[in-house]
Symmetry: C2
Subunit: 144 residues, 2 copies
DNA sequence: TCAATCCCTAGTGATTTGCTTGGGATTACT
DNA sequence: AGTAATCCCAAGCAAATCACTAGGGATTGA
């Protein structure tokens, strides 16, 4: 029942971009240093977030990445689902339900999995990226 | 972010034992048939639940398994944690915290993981095994 | 005694994870 | 126009984990 490192690094990348703001495009290299992960791997995670419409990019020299949305308009849940897929604990409790329980009316436990899924979504959709960005900025202030 | 089949089969095994009640010891074979899983695999899952004190066993002829607790005294959360370990989404958010974040004061995201963990635990600890057992019994009634 | 049952450990093929590698396309700057 | 900086993309791969299987030992009731 663990999140993969995609969710962990990817969310940190979004926080990092949130801190930089929207004036410049930040190169991959810099974000990778900030959150201590290899550039090549981070690139793949950022691609997921870009395809989801949460990050925009500019190629070439002076290029880089930037948030495509305002941190107060996006939830941690949106970010994690873009990176990890559904946060449901079983395939039979995914939102799209393309994987249905074979014995769907007799499956007692499916109700449990759906409650877990809803519980997770409630938590992560109640946290805006903005909150984490300002947490980060406050810690920096406190330490210097 | 998926539960393993341990949690899924193990919880079903507990429901099955709950339905049988405490008069007889139910042999592994019968439980395995009920929930459609191999005996050898189920045996390993039941061993986890036995070591956690939730199932008792009798060896030898006429032996088998039986709940060691009343279904109204045990939560789905206790069962899942016995099978899966902590339901925390990262090792740095486990209850025992033997895996600490290396950069523990600067880690912004740890707060998110702990909220997810608590959200999951709240859901699963609010469901008693008894509820699932009676759901099962009601479905059987409805179908025959 | 012996058949039924639980108990335990080791092995194993398939899948997923967490990357690395390497080449191509685009852009700013000179 | 050339070149360095950067993003984009797909393939490959070692290690870990998952979901079992296999098989032998211990215990108990008839």
């Amino acid at each position: 029942m663990k999140l993969s490192t995609k969710g962990q690094y990817g969310l940190k990348a979004m926080i990092s971009l949130g801190v930089y703001g929207k004036e410049d495009y930040i190169p991959l290299k810099q974000i990778a240093e900030d959150i201590d992960v290899s550039e090549n791997y981070l690139e793949q995670l950022i691609a997921l977030l870009r395809r989801a419409g949460y990050i925009k990019s500019r190629r070439g020299s002076q290029g880089g990445y930037q948030l495509a949305v305002d941190p107060k308009d996006i939830t941690v849940g949106q970010i994690l689902r873009a990176l990890e897929g559904s946060l449901a604990p079983t395939s039979c409790s995914c939102e799209d339900s393309s994987f249905e329980c074979t014995n769907h009316d007799k499956c007692i436990t499916q109700g449990v999995w759906i409650k877990i899924r809803n519980g997770i979504n409630d938590v992560v959709d109640s946290i805006m990226l903005e909150e984490l960005v300002s947490d980060y900025e406050n810690i920096d202030k406190g330490e210097n």
